[in-house]
């Protein structure tokens, strides 16, 4: 039905309409309603690219007021940007702000927000971005929008279910090889934000030797992509009660109420099981495995939670199902360890003294254990390394100051005023005058040469 605009003049109507417009373009998120939906961080980047502004400007001009942040956004934001695809309280704030600024109401679907009642945040998100180079390449070839999928941000996902290839988590160029952040100040989906090169590769150029996919990886990627597809159904539902009661049922019926027996039956670590029985939400990888034990898919779990009726005792649980579950504990013999420590320290007598981390790596235990067990040895290792580094620095700076002095004299001999710019160019090292001592050396040289310092 047409609305009546007769009471308005053109100016008042225009003003009314313009005031109701969204500040940013209301761009459609990619893959909405599919398993390959775009991630919130990718949406953020695309929004900044389409508005031709940097991410920090975007955040500091508009988000800061809506989010009520006291501090201006700065580079640390990029390191924590991975959390934006999860479900921390901050994510709700950002999604709300983005919804206001773009005039949309569906941006919640670009995060795991709707899974917050069934999943543990631990083990859900990757620390750096991973991507499928073939997806990038195909989207670009077909003239589609290049974007990062929410699925790729999930920690257990190592492969692209569309192309069945391993995801990459660093820039694939040999001279870059840097890990990628989810959001960088000028990041463009499909490009490396460090070396600014295109990350897409066509399928025929993928090396098959680097692309051996295990059955477990394929299964878990299919399960999680199904979860993303069904995510809308979860909204505000919690299955923790049902989850705990199902575990309790199995414990009572098959394991004589013993957690150790339950852990053997399900092939799960008993400590983790104890935690889950108190109501702690499982992480995504464990949830997939629990569902497997209960003959369910993750999509079925989303429909109604864990169902104890479906549980069957399985004897043929494969080895691959034990995932990083049991922590190996090594017994440490203090005497042997002390001896081996001394041996290692003596090995480096005339070489560069090793750092505590390096020593720990050689022995195969953590550095904190050495610190705890042998505080004196640990201290002596650290002090040795520190003194060596200090000496090296002094040596390096000595050479640098000598270079500055020589360059200054040489430029003066060429008949030019040895300005700092010329000395920098002569040495080919742009940041040579960053240290105040370098400037002092340069000044002293000028005084020695009898030149008046021009400021």
């Amino acid at each position: 039905m047409q609305k009546d605009v007769s009471p308005y003049t053109l100016d008042s109507l225009k003003a009314k309409i313009m005031s109701s417009r969204s500040i940013f373009y209301s761009i459609e998120p990619m893959g909405l309603g599919t398993a390959y939906v775009e991630s919130l961080t990718s949406y953020f980047c695309r929004l900044a690219v389409l508005h031709n502004v940097t991410i920090l400007n975007l955040l500091n001009k508009y988000f800061i007021q809506i989010i009520n942040s006291n501090n201006a956004f700065n580079t640390p934001f990029f390191y924590y940007s991975r959390n934006l695809n999860g479900f921390t309280p901050n994510v709700i704030k950002y999604v709300k702000a983005l919804n206001i600024l773009t005039g949309r109401n569906d941006l919640e679907e670009l995060t795991f927000l709707s899974c917050q009642n069934i999943l543990n945040l631990k083990g859900l998100l990757k620390k750096t971005k991973s991507y499928c180079p073939v997806c990038y390449q195909e989207n670009q070839k077909n003239g589609l929008v290049v974007y990062d999928q929410l699925l790729w941000t999930c920690k257990p996902i190592n492969i692209c279910p569309i192309h069945n290839i391993k995801l990459l988590d660093y820039c694939h160029y040999d001279d870059c090889k840097k890990p990628l952040l989810f959001i960088d100040n000028k990041s463009l989906p499909g490009y490396c934000s460090k070396c600014h090169r295109w990350l897409g590769i066509s399928e025929s150029h993928i090396n098959p030797n680097n692309n051996i996919i295990e059955n477990y990886e394929l299964q878990i990627s299919n399960e999680i992509s199904d979860l993303i597809l069904e995510m809308r159904k979860i909204k505000n539902q919690t299955y923790t009660g049902k989850f705990v009661s199902s575990l309790n049922y199995v414990k009572d019926q098959y394991c004589d109420n013993s957690i150790i027996k339950l852990s053997k039956l399900l092939s799960f670590d008993k400590h983790n099981l104890k935690r889950y029985l108190t109501g702690i939400k499982p992480n995504i990888e464990y949830l997939v495995l629990f569902c497997k034990r209960f003959n369910m898919s993750l999509a079925e779990f989303v429909e109604g939670g864990l169902d104890y009726k479906l549980f069957e005792v399985k004897t043929d649980i494969q080895k691959e199902d034990f995932i990083k579950d049991k922590i190996k504990r090594i017994k440490i013999d203090s005497n042997i360890l002390e001896q081996s420590l001394n041996v290692i320290i003596n090995q480096f007598e005339n070489k560069t003294p090793p750092s505590l981390e390096e020593v720990a790596k050689i022995i195969g235990i953590s550095s904190s254990t050495i610190r705890y067990k042998f505080p004196n040895i640990a201290k002596s290792i650290v002090v040795k390394r520190y003194q060596y580094n200090k000496k090296q620095k002094e040596k390096r700076l000595g050479i640098l100051y000598e270079d500055i002095r020589n360059a200054t004299i040489e430029i003066f001999n060429m008949g030019k005023y040895p300005a700092q710019v010329l000395v920098t160019k002569f040495l080919g090292r742009p940041k040579v005058f960053m240290s105040p001592i370098a400037t002092k050396v340069w000044r002293e040289t000028l005084i020695d040469l009898g030149i008046k310092i021009m400021t």
């Binding site: 047409q2 225009k14 417009r21 969204s22 209301s26 001009k61």
Partner: protein, 380 residues
């Protein structure tokens, strides 16, 4: 003959209000008249069904009411897109700017892009960077490098994402004011490519100078449509009757105590407006303000005369208008010239028809004779 007669008048309550309100009533009153209606219809048709047209020009003499036409079109577009506007908060119904007269001999495109971005409600105009440049040249740009290319890319994105029904550039003849002929040719190419890349039709509104501009370039002419918004001409009786009815409508909408009767001076009115409704409205606005200021009860002939444009000014406007009209009316001569150029006059239609009707000669071959072709060799 259709006579446009708007008999609606103002309400009697208006007479008790302040003079500013009375003046604003008349000032904001958009009166439609036959030429305006025709032009609006044509523009709306072109907006709704562009059919390959990316540039659309509206030419007419000064003061004929082109800006009113623009306002009317904007209103109509907004009206037709109200539902869409409710459902999608990101789009803008229609946008436009007024081209600024060049001050340094060339049209300032950077300024044009900035103004256009402002018209499209673009945020952070002073912080634009060119992502393509950064990623192509692998360079690190400093904050100060807000180049024209960054603004241009931004404008393309803004047009693509805000999806206005059309982008209107008023006083577009200012774009034509450039020093060299080569640059003149490039000017509209810029707008054309903007329009093509963003897929948004651009409407240029300007005086007859704009009409000259279109013939510059073949490619451009193919992509442009032109609407002529003429004045009412004295040599045409029909036009004069329409003009008189417009004067009558204005008369009815002047909020003065006594009835305004200026229709009897229509000849004088025509002389000082050369049949342009915009000039007439501005003139009557001046008269009304003077009358309200001095508590006159109606508008007299003396007041009309006092507030009229001087003869010199009107003569200048008339010369420009007539010159422009002449160029547009030359179309028939141009057509003949074109026929001559394409040698269309030498084509004999009856001869073509005769050739078409004649059956094609078939090559007859005797029975049993093989057609000449290669036989397949090899194989089993």
């Amino acid at each position: 003959m259709e006579i446009y007669n708007n008999t609606n008048t103002f309400s009697s309550e208006l007479l008790n209000k302040s003079k500013e309100e009375k003046y604003n009533y008349f000032h904001n009153k958009l009166i439609t008249h036959p030429n305006l209606e025709k032009a609006i219809l044509e523009v709306m048709n072109n907006i709704e069904n562009p059919a390959g047209i990316s540039l659309f020009m509206i030419t007419g003499p000064t003061g004929v009411g082109k800006t009113t036409l623009k306002n009317k079109v904007e209103m109509k577009v907004i009206e037709s897109r109200l539902l869409e506007l409710d459902s999608n908060k990101g789009i803008i119904p229609i946008a436009g700017i007024e081209a600024v007269a060049p001050d340094a001999g060339y049209y300032n495109w950077k300024d044009h892009y900035k103004r256009s971005l402002e018209a499209l409600c673009e945020p952070m105009i002073n912080y634009k960077i060119d992502y393509e440049k950064i990623y192509k040249t692998n360079s690190v740009l400093s904050k100060s490098e807000n180049t024209a290319s960054a603004y241009r890319k931004s404008l393309e994105n803004a047009l693509r994402n805000r999806r206005p029904a059309a982008f209107i550039i008023d006083e577009a003849q200012h774009i034509t004011k450039v020093a060299s002929g080569k640059r003149l040719q490039d000017q509209l190419d810029i707008i054309k490519s903007l329009s093509n890349l963003s897929g948004i039709i651009h409407i240029l509104i300007g005086t007859y100078d704009l009409g000259l501009f279109i013939d510059m370039n073949g490619q451009l002419s193919r992509r442009t449509a032109n609407v002529h918004f003429p004045r009412y001409k004295a040599e045409n009786n029909d036009d004069i009757r329409k003009f008189i009815s417009v004067v009558k409508t204005f008369e009815n909408h002047m909020p003065l105590e006594n009835e305004v009767n200026i229709l009897k001076y229509w000849e004088f009115i025509y002389e000082r407006t050369i049949g342009c409704v915009g000039i007439l409205k501005n003139w009557l606005e001046r008269c009304l303000w003077y009358a309200l200021d001095n508590n006159y009860k109606t508008i007299s002939y003396e007041l009309l005369k006092e507030q009229a444009l001087s003869l010199g000014k009107i003569e200048k406007i008339a010369i420009e208008a007539i010159q422009g009209e002449k160029e547009i009316e030359e179309n028939e001569d141009k057509r003949k010239e074109l026929h001559k150029m394409l040698k269309l006059d030498f084509v004999n239609i009856s001869e073509i028809e005769r050739i078409e009707k004649e059956p094609k000669n078939k090559v007859k071959t005797s029975v049993g004779k093989r057609k000449p072709h290669r036989d397949a060799v090899g194989g089993v």
